[in-house]
Symmetry: C2
Subunit: 207 residues, 2 copies
């Protein structure tokens, strides 16, 4: 062992516990809301002292923003990256929605889509957290609009489809499926969303 081992281990322990805290916070946020995450109840849940938690996050807003970034990393690894590996643009769109619906059905977050949940909570609460959530929503819409444009360029989707409107409709099925799934604890709502997405994409293909 060298002199640098101890500090290095300390830092990586710190990173591990930061990740543990933020993963717990992201789960809790889909149950009790981002406002429901207090340093006190997080400390109780993961068995860490409040002062230990304060060392990681200076304020509640800092904790909320870090929780949002953690949820985004999880979403990107679970939904975006696997579907991005599909070469054909139209198949990439299908893979994105299939991965998203599977992400919901596997309850990667216990309260359904993290970003739908926190958007419904923060839409009426102006500030840095709401701005970041709106930015992530806009980024997800842009991602799909870009895939639609690529599929149109490849001739797999009709030129006369408006990418903004098509993305709105596809996203709508997903959001409705998520809402009904969580409210009724019924996976058939996700299957209705999958059917609607497939039907809409089929209509958007050239005759």
């Amino acid at each position: 062992m060298t002199d640098t081992t101890a500090p290095r281990r300390t830092r990586s322990d710190g990173e591990r516990s930061r990740r543990t805290i933020l993963r717990a916070a992201a789960n809790l946020a889909t149950i009790d809301g981002l406002e429901g995450i207090s340093i006190g109840n997080l400390a109780a849940r993961i068995g860490m002292s409040k002062s230990g938690l304060y060392a990681h996050f200076g304020s509640k807003e800092e904790l909320q923003l870090a929780t949002v970034e953690t949820a985004l990393e999880i979403f990107e690894a679970d939904v975006v990256q696997p579907s991005d590996a599909v070469a054909d643009p139209l198949e990439r769109i299908r893979a994105y929605y299939a991965a998203f619906l599977s992400h919901l059905e596997r309850r990667v977050f216990p309260g359904g889509c993290f970003f739908a949940s926190v958007a419904a909570e923060f839409d009426t609460h102006p500030g840095a957290v709401k701005d970041r959530i709106a930015e992530i929503h806009e980024g997800a819409s842009e991602h799909v609009r870009r895939l639609i444009a690529e599929a149109q360029a490849a001739g797999s989707l009709r030129q006369d489809e408006d990418a903004r409107q098509l993305e709105f409709e596809l996203h709508a099925y997903l959001l409705m499926g998520n809402t009904a799934f969580v409210l009724n604890d019924d996976p058939s709502c996700l299957h209705q969303a999958a059917a609607a997405i497939e039907r809409r994409l089929t209509q958007a293909q050239p005759a």
Copy 2:
């Protein structure tokens, strides 16, 4: 004046203040959530004593349930009853969604659709309030499925449309419009929803 005047006036004053409380509570619920309504902050908002409020509602759950019923009355008077007056079944469906989108754009509730807002909040909180919210959502879906069946019987919508799936898709556009409208404070999201609803209904008409 007769002996009965005073008690009668007292009772109707009580009803008026109960309505005032519940209207304020329904507005507040779309901003801070039904859990954010405390007897304390409601009392402060409407300038009534906490003990005066306790006289109306025995518990927080009772206040939440009464708030949900008040929101339902407002929604029915603003959206359901006017559209129910339209004779033709397909036009009644169009009138229902047009009234719903107008209800959102006029911000009858400041945080958008009351029932979308409280469903997102209570979907992960089992109990009497969640059950009542889920029942109201199911009732709204049933209402539209009934209108679809009537329009099919009248020959205005295709027989091979699955009423459950069609209602899911129409509701999805509404929910997406509401979510994006409140998050981005942008009425064009409601116009996208209106366009999607019209497009879907046109597709569902016999050739």
